[in-house]
C-alpha cells in the first residue's frame, strides 16, 4: 500500500474536478525578456495592499525617503511593512485611487522621486542564521504573497505546525500572464535560493515546484538550477490548476478541509515570485520594491514582461509600453478570468499586480446580456470546487442565505470557470461575490446586535443592583434612626409635651411658690448639669450625652416637684419652665409685661436649645464619617447648648425676678404667658432693663444675645450637616 | 358610501368570494360543467346564505364565543338540508345532476366565512343583505364559468335547462358551435381551473380601472420628512 509520499516521489499526479481550457493568449509576451521600467516621476504607495491590518505611515509630508527605507510599519499580527520603492520626497499622504475593483480611494503615500536613486541594501543574512532572524528580515522587507492574494509571507512561513509539503506555485494558469514564466527563465538561481530560505524555515519533508507544461523553457531552467531536495513537476495545463487548493489536490491528492488553511494539513504553498523576493530579502538584503508585471493586450504597442517599481501608476506604465487609447477599452489588472477592470487608470501597481491587460472591444468583447438560466449544468461540470453553481445562482438571486451556506458558498474560489461556460451569459461569480458580502455584513450586524443586547442586559442588572443596595441602605438608616429616637427624644417629646401641660396648669399655683425653693432647685439642677458635663469625656457617644441629659432632667423633675410642693404651700407665682432642661425661674418680682418679655426670651432660648438637642439626637444614628465627627461635635454643641441654656436660664431668672416684683402689682398674665409660649419672638430687652440695674440689665442682655447667637450658630451648623 | 352600497361593492367586486377570496372553489369547479347546473347551485347557495346569515345575526348575542363554529355549522346544515329536500322534491333532475355537491354546500367556506366575519357581529338586515350579495357575487362567477365551459366544451348554452326550470325550458338551448368532438379538457376540472385562472387574470387586469371608478382614490398629502435617522 503506497503512501501519498511514495506516489508523490514517483511523480504521480492527480486530477481536480472540472476545469476549463480558455485560449491562453500568451504568445505575445511568452518569450519576452524582463525589461526594467525607468523610474516615473511619482510613486503612489497604498498602506493597505495586503491581507490584514493596514500599515501605519511613519513618515510625514516633506520628509525625504531613501530607496528601501521603511515608510509604513506593520500593525498587528497579520500585517506587512511598506517600503519606499524610490528615493525622493513624500509629497502627500492622502486618499488616492486604489488598485481595487471597488475603486474606493484609500490612504496612499505619494513620493515624488528624485533623479538620483541611492539604495542601500540591508546586511545579507545566510542560511545558517537563526530562523527568527530570517523571519524578522522577511518581515522588515515587507514581503507579501506576490501571486495575487498578498498574504504577509512571514506569517505564512511561521505556521507552528509540522510541514510535510512545501509547494512552490509556478503554474500561472491564467491566460495572458507570463510574469512568473519570465522570472523562471531568467532568474532561476535566485529563485532556488529563495526556496532554500523557505526550506530552512519550514523544514518540509518534500519540496515540490509545480509548473504548467506550457512553459517548457522555464521548466528546463528550474530543473537545472534546482538541487536534489526539490522536486520539479510539470502539471497539465488546465485552468485553474494554479489555485492553491486545486494545486494541492493535483500534486498530493489531499483536499484542504472547508474552513481550514493548508497549514492545517501540513502543506504550505508559496508563489514562485514570493520565494524570489524572500530570497533577495534574506540573502541579498533587498526589500520588496519592484516586481515583474506582464503588460499585454492589443492596445499596447510593446507588450512584454516588465520590472516595474511598486507604486507606479498604471497610466504611467501603460504609456511606457506604448498604450493607444481606443474608443472603448478595458484595462484589466490581473488575468482575464479573475482580474478586475479598473475604473481609474491612475491606480498604482501594488504587490499583487502581476499583469495589466489593455484590451479593446474586439479582443475582450463585452458579454451579451444575461438570459434565463436553462439549467444545462455545464457550470457544475467545470467547477473546480465541485459546487453546484446553478443552485448557488438561484439562491443568490433569492437571497436565501441559509441555502447558500448549506451549498458551501464560501468554498467558492471565484475562479470564473462557471461564468466562462454559461450559455446564458449569467455573471455567476458576481452573484456569489454579492451574496458573500451580504452574508458577511449580516453576520457582522448580528454580532453587534448580540453585543448591544448583552450590554443592555448588564445595564439593567446593574441598575437593579444599585436600587436594591440603596433601598437596603435606607432601610438600615431608618431602623437605626428609629432605634435612636426610641431611646431618647421620642419619649422625650411626649414627656416634654406632658410636662408643658402640667407646667401650664401648675403655673397658676406656682406663681406664689417660694422663689427661694425654685432658685435652689434651679441651682441644684445647674450643678447637676455641670457635674454631668465634667464627667463626660470628648470620646463619649451622644448616647451617653443623652443619658446625662436624662439624668439632669430627672433631677430637674425632682426639683420641680419639690418646688410644686412649696408652691402649693406658698401659693407663690413664678413662671415654670416647660422644658426639663430649663432651670426654675428665679424669684425676682417683675411687672407683668416684663415678666412676659422675660418669659418670651426664655421660651425662645428654650426652643432653640430644644432644636439643638433634637438635631443632635438625629445626628446620633447617622452612619459613616458623621459618626466619628458627630459625637464630638454634638458633644461640643451640647456643651455649648448647655452653656447657652444656662445663660438663657440666668437671664430668664433675672427677668422673672423683675416680673415677680411686678406681679404683686398686677394680676397674673396667664394669657400673656400663653402668647409668649405660643409665639416666641425676639423680646426687646428694653422692658427688662427698666426694672433692673443698668449693669444687671446689660449683663442679662449680653447673656441673652450671646445665648441667641450661639444657638443660631449651632443651628446653622447642624443644618449644614 | 352608505352601508348597503358598501356591502354591494364588496360582495360583487372587491371581495368577491369566487375571484378574490377564492373560497368555495370545490363546487365552483365541479358543478359548472353546464350553465344549468351552475344556475341551480347558485340559487341553492344564495338561499342558504341569506337564511343562515339572518339566523346567525338574530341569535348572535347568545352564542358563546368558544363554540360558535359548531353552532354556525349546525345552522347552515339545517338550511342546506331544507334546500336539498326541496330540490329533491321539485327538481329531481337537478338533484341527480348536482349529486354530492348539494349537501357539500355546508362546507362551503363562503357561508361559514360570512357568518363568522359579518353576521355574528351585525344586525339582521345588513347581515341578510350581506348574505344575499355575497351569494349573488358567487353566483355570477358560477354562471360565468358555467357558460364558458359549456360553450367551449359542448358548444351549447342552457342545454339541459329543463331539469331546473321545467319542460318549457327545453327550447332554451342555444347551439353556438358545432364540434365533431368536444374539447374534453375544458369539461374536466383541470380545464375549469385554467378557465378560472383566465377569468381571474382578466378581473385583476381591469381591477384598478374599476376601482378608480367606484372608489376614487383620496389624495393624501405626503408628509415631508425633515429629519431622518442615520441609515447604516
Amino acid at each position: 500500500m503506497k503512501t501519498i509520499l511514495n506516489l508523490v516521489d514517483e511523480g504521480h499526479l492527480w486530477d481536480f474536478h472540472g476545469g476549463i481550457h480558455p485560449p491562453s493568449r500568451k504568445e505575445r509576451t511568452k518569450d519576452s525578456a524582463i525589461v526594467p521600467i525607468p523610474m516615473p516621476q511619482h510613486l503612489y504607495i497604498p498602506v493597505a495592499q495586503h491581507v490584514g491590518q493596514p500599515a501605519l505611515p511613519i513618515v510625514q509630508v516633506g520628509v525625504n525617503t531613501r530607496q528601501g527605507q521603511l515608510i509604513a510599519r506593520k500593525e498587528g499580527f497579520i500585517s506587512a511593512n511598506v517600503i519606499a520603492p524610490a528615493s525622493g520626497t513624500v509629497c502627500e499622504i492622502a486618499d488616492y485611487a486604489a488598485c481595487h475593483p471597488s475603486g474606493i480611494p484609500t490612504q496612499t503615500i505619494t513620493i515624488a522621486t528624485s533623479t538620483e536613486q541611492n539604495f542601500e541594501s540591508l546586511e545579507p543574512l545566510s542560511l545558517d542564521d537563526d530562523n527568527q532572524k530570517i523571519l524578522e528580515r522577511i518581515n522588515t522587507s515587507g514581503i507579501t504573497g506576490l501571486g495575487g492574494a498578498s498574504f504577509p509571507t512571514a506569517v505564512k512561513l511561521a505556521p507552528n505546525k509540522p510541514i510535510e509539503y512545501l509547494i512552490i506555485n509556478a503554474a500561472e494558469c491564467e491566460p495572458y500572464i507570463t510574469a512568473d514564466d519570465a522570472l523562471m527563465r531568467e532568474r532561476a538561481a535566485d529563485i532556488i535560493n529563495g526556496i532554500k530560505v523557505m526550506q530552512k524555515l519550514l523544514n518540509p519533508t518534500r519540496t515540490i515546484i509545480a509548473i504548467e507544461d506550457n512553459k517548457p523553457q522555464a521548466i528546463a531552467q528550474i530543473e537545472q538550477a534546482a538541487d536534489d531536495s526539490m522536486i520539479v513537476r510539470a502539471i497539465p495545463t488546465l485552468y485553474p490548476a494554479g489555485g492553491e487548493k486545486q494545486l494541492i489536490e493535483v500534486l498530493t491528492s489531499l483536499q484542504v478541509p472547508s474552513g481550514k488553511i493548508p497549514a492545517d494539513i501540513g502543506i504550505v504553498v508559496q508563489n514562485i515570485a514570493t520565494s524570489y523576493a524572500a530570497g533577495n530579502a534574506v540573502l541579498k538584503g533587498q526589500p520588496l520594491i519592484s516586481r515583474i508585471v506582464t503588460v499585454s493586450g492589443d492596445l499596447v504597442e510593446r507588450p512584454g514582461n516588465y520590472e516595474v517599481p511598486l507604486g507606479m501608476s498604471i497610466k504611467d506604465l501603460l504609456e511606457q509600453c506604448g498604450f493607444k487609447a481606443s474608443q472603448r477599452q478595458k484595462i484589466i489588472v490581473g488575468g482575464p478570468m479573475m482580474g478586475f477592470a479598473l475604473n481609474d487608470i491612475n491606480a498604482p501597481v501594488v504587490k499583487a499586480t502581476n499583469c495589466v491587460i489593455a484590451a479593446s472591444e474586439q479582443e475582450l468583447p463585452n458579454p451579451p446580456p444575461e438570459q434565463n438560466c436553462i439549467r444545462c449544468g455545464d457550470c457544475e461540470q467545470v467547477c473546480p470546487a465541485q459546487l453546484l453553481p446553478q443552485q448557488l445562482q438561484w439562491f443568490a438571486k433569492d437571497q436565501d442565505h441559509d441555502k447558500l451556506k448549506q451549498h458551501d458558498l464560501f468554498d467558492c474560489i471565484e475562479c470564473g470557470a462557471c461564468a466562462y461556460v454559461c450559455p446564458s451569459s449569467i455573471p455567476l461569480v458576481q452573484y456569489y461575490r454579492v451574496a458573500k458580502a451580504e452574508i458577511r455584513s449580516e453576520e457582522r450586524e448580528k454580532q453587534q446586535a448580540q453585543r448591544a443586547k448583552e450590554r443592555f442586559e448588564q445595564r439593567i442588572a446593574r441598575l437593579e443592583r444599585e436600587k436594591t443596595e440603596r433601598e437596603e441602605r435606607n432601610r438600615l438608616a431608618a431602623e437605626k434612626r428609629k432605634a435612636a429616637m426610641k431611646g431618647t427624644s421620642n419619649g422625650d417629646a411626649i414627656a416634654a409635651a406632658l410636662a408643658r401641660v402640667k407646667a401650664k396648669k401648675s403655673q397658676a399655683q406656682e406663681e406664689s411658690a417660694a422663689p427661694n425653693d425654685r432658685v435652689a432647685a434651679a441651682i441644684a439642677r445647674a450643678k447637676a448639669k455641670k457635674a454631668a458635663k465634667q464627667t463626660t469625656t470628648p470620646e463619649q457617644s451622644s448616647e451617653d450625652e443623652n443619658q446625662l441629659e436624662q439624668k439632669s432632667r430627672v433631677a430637674d423633675a425632682i426639683a420641680r416637684a419639690k418646688a410644686k410642693k412649696l408652691a402649693a404651700q406658698q401659693a407663690d407665682q413664678a413662671p415654670q419652665s416647660d422644658e426639663n432642661q430649663q432651670v426654675a425661674p428665679a424669684e425676682p418680682q417683675l411687672s407683668p409685661e416684663e415678666a412676659k418679655k422675660a418669659r418670651i426670651a426664655a421660651t425662645v432660648a428654650k426652643a432653640k436649645a430644644k432644636k439643638l438637642a433634637a438635631k443632635q439626637v438625629e445626628q446620633a444614628p447617622q452612619p459613616d464619617e458623621n459618626q466619628q465627627v458627630a459625637p464630638t461635635e454634638s458633644q461640643q454643641s451640647t456643651d455649648e447648648a448647655n452653656k447657652a441654656r444656662i445663660a438663657a436660664t440666668v437671664a430668664k431668672a433675672k427677668a422673672k425676678k423683675l416680673a415677680a416684683q411686678q406681679a404683686e402689682q398686677a394680676p397674673p398674665h396667664a394669657p400673656a404667658k400663653l402668647e409668649a409660649e405660643q409665639a416666641p419672638r425676639t423680646p426687646p430687652p428694653a422692658a427688662v432693663e427698666s426694672e433692673l440695674s443698668p449693669d444687671e440689665i446689660k449683663k442679662a442682655r449680653i447673656a441673652q444675645a450671646v445665648a441667641k447667637a450661639k444657638a443660631n450658630a449651632l443651628a446653622k451648623k447642624n443644618l449644614k450637616k | 358610501m352608505n352601508q348597503y352600497a358598501e356591502l354591494t361593492w364588496q360582495g360583487l367586486w372587491k371581495n368577491n368570494p369566487g375571484l378574490v377570496q377564492l373560497l368555495g372553489l370545490c363546487p365552483l369547479l365541479a358543478v359548472t360543467s353546464t350553465l344549468t347546473n351552475a344556475l341551480g347551485m347558485a340559487i341553492a347557495t344564495i338561499v342558504v346564505m341569506v337564511c343562515s346569515n339572518a339566523t346567525v345575526s338574530l341569535i348572535r348575542q347568545w352564542i358563546p364565543k368558544e363554540i360558535r363554529i359548531p353552532i354556525f355549522v349546525m345552522i347552515i346544515a339545517g338550511f342546506v338540508t331544507c334546500v336539498q329536500l326541496l330540490i329533491n322534491a321539485y327538481a329531481y333532475g337537478l338533484y341527480l345532476s348536482l349529486g354530492i355537491f348539494l349537501p357539500l354546500i355546508v362546507t362551503n367556506c363562503i357561508i361559514i366565512g360570512r357568518a363568522e366575519a359579518y353576521a355574528s357581529k351585525n344586525d339582521l338586515l345588513p347581515s341578510a343583505y350581506d348574505g344575499l350579495i355575497m351569494g349573488i357575487g358567487f353566483g355570477v362567477i358560477l354562471l360565468l364559468l358555467g357558460a364558458v365551459r359549456e360553450i367551449l366544451g359542448q358548444g351549447t348554452l342552457f342545454s339541459g335547462a329543463e331539469i331546473l326550470l321545467g319542460d318549457w325550458a327545453k327550447s332554451l338551448t342555444i347551439h353556438l358551435i358545432d364540434f365533431d368532438q368536444s374539447f374534453l379538457f375544458i369539461m374536466l376540472p383541470p380545464g375549469a381551473f385554467v378557465a378560472l385562472g383566465f377569468i381571474l387574470a382578466i378581473k385583476n387586469s381591469v381591477n384598478s380601472r374599476v376601482e378608480a371608478l367606484i372608489e376614487p382614490p383620496v389624495e393624501i398629502e405626503k408628509p415631508q420628512r425633515v429629519r431622518i435617522n442615520k441609515v447604516s
Binding site: I20, P22, P175, Q255, P257, S258, G259, K260, R328, Q329, K330, I331, I332, P336, M337, M338, G339, A341, L342, N343, A359, E361, L364, P365, N366, P367, P368, P369, Q371, N372, C373, I374, R375, G377, D378, E380, P384, A385, Q386, L387, L388, Q390, Q391, H407, G416, A419, Y420, V421, P423, S424, S425, V429, Q430, R433 | Q181, F183, L184, F185, I186, L188
Partner: protein, 351 residues
C-alpha cells in the same frame, strides 16, 4: 477615456443558448426526413403550423409581460417547442390541433411559470398530453405508411385535409387510413396493445404486415434516424450521455425482463426500443435541460425513472405510447432528485 467596467471573468467561452437550441433542432433533421419519407409531407405542414404559432404566442405573451421580444425569441426555445410538438402529432391532424397544443404549451406550460428556465414541466409534452386527453380520436388517427397505403395522397390532399378535414376528393382522414387490405391501421404499438387485449399473443400480432422483421414498418427507420441525430448531439456536446443511456438502458432492462418472464404478452425489447417515440423521447424530449435533473447522478436516476415508467404504462396503462406521460411524471420528481443528488464539494468530504 472610456473605460468599460464589468465583473470578471472577462473572457467568455463559446456556448450560447440559441446555439444549443439550434443544434438540437438541426439534429432532428434525419428524423424528420424519415417521417416525411414514410408518412408523407403532412409532417412538414404540421411543423410549420406549430413553429409559427409558437413564435406568435411567445411574442404576444412577452409583449404582455413587457419584456424584450427579439432577444427572447432569438434564443430559439419557442422554435424548438413548436418543432418537437409538430413532430409528435399525427401528420394529417386538423390545423387547430397543432394550434391549441402549441398555445397551451407556450403560454401555460412555459410563460406562466416564468419563461425559459422556470418551467417545471416539458412544454411540448404538456401540450401533447392536453391534446391527447382532449381530442383522443384526432390524436390517434395516424396515417398509414405510404407504401402500405391504399390511397395515394397528394400534397394538395394533405393541405386540404389539414385545413378542411376532407380531401379534395371528399374523403375524411379516417377513410385514408385504410391499408391495401382494407384494414384501418394505427401505429404498431397501438395495434399490439389492441391485439393483446383481444387475446392474441405477441407473436401472432407481430406477424402482421405492418410489422416488418424488426419493429413496425416505417417506425423502426424513424427511430433509427432519431438515434443518429441523438448521437450527433452527443458528439457535439450539446447533451450529455447520462439521460439517453439511462432511458434506453432501463427500458431495455425492463422489456428484457418482461419478455423473458412472459414472452406472449410482452413485446420484445426490439419492439420497445425501436417503435413508437422511444429514441425521439430519449434523445430530444427527456434531455430538455430545463426540466431534467442537473447533476450527473441525478440525470441517471431521471433517465431510469423515465424508462421504467415508459415500460409500465405501455404494458399496463391505458395508452399505447407513453413517452409524454413518463417524461411529465419524471419532471415532477426532479426537485427531489436534485436535492438528494448534491455532490460533496471540495473540502467537505468528511461530512
Amino acid at each position: 477615456m472610456y473605460l468599460s467596467v464589468a465583473p470578471s471573468p472577462h473572457h467568455k467561452g463559446t456556448g450560447d443558448t440559441s446555439t444549443v437550441m439550434r443544434n438540437v433542432a438541426l439534429a432532428t433533421m434525419p428524423g424528420i426526413a424519415a417521417l416525411v419519407y414514410f408518412f408523407g409531407a403532412g409532417v412538414l405542414v404540421q411543423i410549420i403550423i406549430c413553429i409559427t404559432t409558437a413564435m406568435l404566442t411567445e411574442a404576444a405573451v412577452l409583449h404582455l409581460r413587457k419584456k424584450d421580444i427579439s432577444t427572447t425569441l432569438k434564443d430559439n426555445s419557442a422554435l424548438l417547442t413548436g418543432l418537437l410538438l409538430g413532430l409528435s402529432i399525427p401528420p394529417l391532424a386538423p390545423w387547430w390541433i397543432g394550434v391549441i397544443g402549441v398555445v397551451f404549451a407556450v403560454l401555460i406550460a412555459k410563460q406562466l411559470y416564468g419563461g425559459l428556465g422556470f418551467n417545471l414541466f416539458n412544454p411540448a409534452m404538456v401540450g401533447y398530453v392536453l391534446l391527447l386527453i382532449s381530442f383522443p380520436v384526432a390524436m390517434t388517427n395516424w396515417s398509414v405508411p405510404t407504401e402500405l397505403s391504399h390511397h395515394q395522397v397528394t400534397f394538395s390532399d394533405i393541405i386540404s385535409v389539414i385545413f378542411t378535414e376532407t380531401t379534395t376528393t371528399g374523403m375524411t382522414v379516417n377513410d385514408i387510413r385504410h391499408t391495401i387490405d382494407g384494414v384501418t391501421m394505427a401505429t404498431p404499438l397501438d395495434t399490439l396493445k389492441t391485439d393483446l387485449t383481444l387475446g392474441l399473443t405477441v407473436g401472432e400480432s407481430t406477424a402482421k404486415d405492418m410489422f416488418s422483421s424488426w419493429a413496425g414498418f416505417g417506425w423502426e427507420w424513424v427511430n433509427i434516424a432519431f438515434l443518429v441525430g441523438g448521437i450527433y448531439l452527443l458528439k457535439i456536446g450539446v447533451i450529455r450521455w447520462h439521460i439517453p443511456v439511462a432511458v434506453i438502458g432501463s427500458l431495455l432492462f425492463c422489456s428484457l425482463l418482461g419478455y423473458l418472464l412472459d414472452p406472449d404478452s410482452h413485446g420484445t425489447p426490439i419492439i420497445h426500443l425501436f417503435s413508437g417515440a422511444t429514441m425521439f423521447g430519449a434523445f430530444f424530449i427527456a434531455t430538455d435541460p430545463v426540466t431534467a435533473a442537473t447533476s450527473n447522478r441525478g440525470k441517471l436516476l431521471f433517465g431510469v425513472i423515465i424508462g421504467a415508467l415508459l415500460y409500465i404504462i405501455r404494458n399496463y396503462g391505458g395508452f399505447p405510447d407513453a413517452i409524454a406521460f413518463a417524461v411529465l411524471l419524471a419532471n415532477m420528481t426532479v426537485p427531489v432528485i436534485d436535492y438528494y443528488s448534491k455532490p460533496t464539494s471540495y473540502g467537505n468530504k468528511a461530512d
